[in-house]
């Protein structure tokens, strides 16, 4: 199968949805500039021009509301933010309006809007360009929240999201943009709300989110050298969560690692840990382990970034400890997945 980049896969999904429904349009700050959101809006821009790939003023809250209003009228809107933090200006429109409009009005007011946003990491992005806030949105009934981790899912999940009659938050990790992978040609949907067992394994379940999926896959290779099989589940969607796939896996392995890109406290890792403890307590051989960020804003200095982000070796050590009771010797030959050198 042909291989393309994650950013190109996002672009393909967008283009397909726009070709299929002439009322779909994109909005966002600078999305029609030459860099075209790291290339992800380029094909749509070339084909449909700035009337359907609409640059907007720096007015996130109102522009989100305007997207909601147009979506209610039957013009599905894809709103794009270069960093998730800009979207926080629009929390009122997302949480109070988009998430409530259909429910509050007795099912008469669907809001087909997709809100794409990017999470930064590394090269000193610091505290306001790097937050993984999917749990914040997952807390809100009425929203759907997806985090495609592979190029194939980037296309299939975004395509599903644009066709979905509900508000969908699509969170894209910056380090995934240049990742290359097999992506089918043409139309296909990856269902929202369904996790993906990427590689089965009998010893430990690892539920991973976004970029952590790739760290978990690397950890799996290293753990195999110790004779430990990690079952890697790409969670894909944090609202609604596919509890059945997680529970099935934990009932088989009896051990759970949750690898998240976000802060540990009140994160999605806490939710999954609680859910498994409530519903599969007697299947657990050990307490669940959460690999997540410390309770601190993201620092800028490379020396602090290095300590701040969990490593592949943390997943390896957690896997060893769950199976053998010991983290063992220092993990050798840990691959470096991304050499992100900025600037943005």
């Amino acid at each position: 199968m042909r291989k393309i980049k994650y950013s190109e896969a996002l672009g393909e999904a967008t283009l397909l949805a726009m070709e299929e429904n002439s009322r779909v349009f994109l909005m966002g700050e600078g999305i029609d500039d030459p860099k075209a959101v790291f290339g992800s809006t380029l094909s749509a821009l070339k084909k449909f021009g700035p009337s359907r790939v609409m640059d907007t003023p720096l007015s996130e809250n109102a522009v989100t509301g305007i997207g909601i209003g147009a979506a209610i009228e039957g013009n599905p809107c894809v709103m794009i933010h270069m960093r998730v933090e800009f979207l926080l200006y629009a929390m009122d429109q997302i949480v109070n309006h988009a998430a409530k409009w259909n429910y509050m009005f007795g099912g008469t007011m669907p809001v087909p809007i997709v809100i794409r946003c990017i999470v930064g990491r590394g090269w000193g992005q610091a505290s306001q360009h790097s937050q993984s806030l999917h749990a914040l949105f997952a807390h809100i009934p009425g929203l759907k929240v997806i985090l495609p981790a592979t190029p194939a899912d980037a296309k299939g999940l975004l395509y599903s999201a644009i066709k979905d009659p509900n508000p969908v938050i699509c969170i894209e990790h910056r380090w995934l943009y240049d990742k290359v992978g097999e992506v089918p040609e043409g139309r296909y949907e990856v269902p929202i709300g369904k996790a993906n067992v990427l590689i089965p394994g009998k010893d430990v379940t690892c539920v991973a989110v976004s970029h952590q999926v790739h760290e978990a896959l690397a950890a799996r290779e290293l753990l195999l050298k110790d004779g430990i099989e990690l079952e890697v589940i790409d969670l894909r969607t944090v609202r609604p969560i596919d509890t059945a796939t997680i529970l099935n896996s934990v009932r088989k392995t009896g051990r759970l690692i949750i690898a998240d890109t976000a802060i540990k406290t009140c994160g999605i890792s806490a939710e999954i840990s609680a859910m498994v403890t409530e519903q599969a307590f007697h299947s657990l051989k050990e307490a669940p382990v959460r690999i997540a960020l410390p309770d601190a804003p993201t620092p800028c200095s490379p020396a602090l970034e290095e300590v701040y982000y969990p490593k592949i070796s943390d997943i390896v050590e957690a896997g060893r400890r769950l199976v053998t009771g010991s983290t063992g010797d220092a993990v050798q030959n840990v691959p470096r997945l991304v050499a992100f050198q900025g600037p943005f």
Binding site: Q93, H97, F105
Partner: protein, 323 residues
């Protein structure tokens, strides 16, 4: 300003009177505790929604606020479905999920109302953006108050609407108070309509208790919108007679005077039009009584419908979270 036809004047009168009587009945019935939700009554402010909505089709859009009863009724929303909604019944316009602050009638173009002040301003602009993209000669109305005009959403929305020349009317019902805070304690300058100037939007400040003035001012704005000439800001000066929330009068709270209220009650939009119509022979006392009687029956039937309707089943907590 051309004179309105007598049919139009009678329609304006009937619609304002219906809103007044619905609101008064809600106030009278509220102590019975069958309507278990906060109500923000529109008594005194009937002219603005009626003067505007009289000129709209069902395909034109209205977005509203927590004080939404008058907008819903002016846009021809069903009275029984409204009262059933206030009763929390499954036959309500939101199946009992919205209540008094969230009235909707998609088929009539009443697109919903938000309890977050200013929250629906951009939604109305979004409808207008859709009309502009689809080249439909329709308009969208954002109703909000002097409080809503203080939100950043208003300024962001005006900029966007002016930039894209969208057919939206920012219809500001300035009743001077945000709950119990007077406009002068909140705004550095109080001519809200002048905010439109900064964005090059045609703007006006008019008597919001004179339904004919409302009608004529809105007419120009609606025509401008339909011709693709962009948005309009209109500040309507009006006044709420009852408490911010709840059925009562509120002079005893101490934030406004009886004299101030009396002054505005003398400018009652319904009385003003009725006096004129009777004087000019466009309405006879008998016709007036017939209108009153018809409205009374309609309201009684609506309350009976609400009482007889069932509550939603418990399982409906989980319906319509997603479309």
């Amino acid at each position: 300003m051309a004179n309105l036809k007598s049919d139009t004047l009678k329609s304006l009168y009937t619609k304002m009177l219906r809103i007044r009587r619905v609101e008064e009945t809600i106030a009278d019935e509220y102590p019975n505790k069958e309507m278990k939700c906060p109500v923000h009554l529109s008594i005194g402010q009937e002219a603005v929604p009626v003067g505007i909505c009289e000129q709209l089709s069902t395909a034109d859009r209205v977005y509203s606020t927590h004080r939404c009863h008058a907008h819903y009724l002016a846009k021809d929303g069903s009275v029984p479905k409204m009262i059933a909604e206030l009763f929390g019944k499954v036959t309500g316009c939101c199946r009992g999920k919205g209540g008094s602050m969230h009235l909707v009638d998609h088929e009539k173009g009443m697109m919903g109302s938000s309890a977050l002040v200013g929250g629906t301003i951009p939604l109305a602009v979004g409808s207008a953006l859709s009309f502009s993209i689809e080249k439909k000669p329709l308009v969208s109305i954002a109703f909000f108050g002097d409080g809503g005009s203080e939100e950043g959403l208003f300024y962001e929305s005006m900029n966007f609407a002016a930039l894209k020349k969208l057919p939206v009317i920012f219809a500001i019902e300035n009743n001077q108070y945000a709950t119990y805070s007077h406009q002068k304690s909140r705004q550095a300058t109080t001519d809200i309509y002048k905010r439109g100037d900064s964005f090059g939007i045609p703007s006006a400040q008019v008597d919001g208790n004179d339904v004919e003035t409302v009608y004529h001012t809105a007419k120009e704005a609606i025509e401008r919108g339909r011709k693709g000439q962009g948005p309009t800001v209109i500040e309507f000066q009006t006044y709420r007679w009852r408490d911010h929330v709840g059925p009562s009068t509120d002079i005893e709270v101490g934030y406004r005077t009886q004299a101030e209220l009396d002054g505005w009650m003398e400018k009652c939009p319904i009385q003003r039009l009725e006096t004129k119509l009777l004087a000019q022979g466009l309405l006879t006392p008998r016709e007036r009584d017939e209108i009153e009687a018809k409205i009374k029956t309609e309201i009684a039937e609506a309350f009976a419908f609400a009482r007889e309707s069932r509550y939603p089943n418990p399982s409906e907590i989980y319906t319509d979270i997603y479309a």
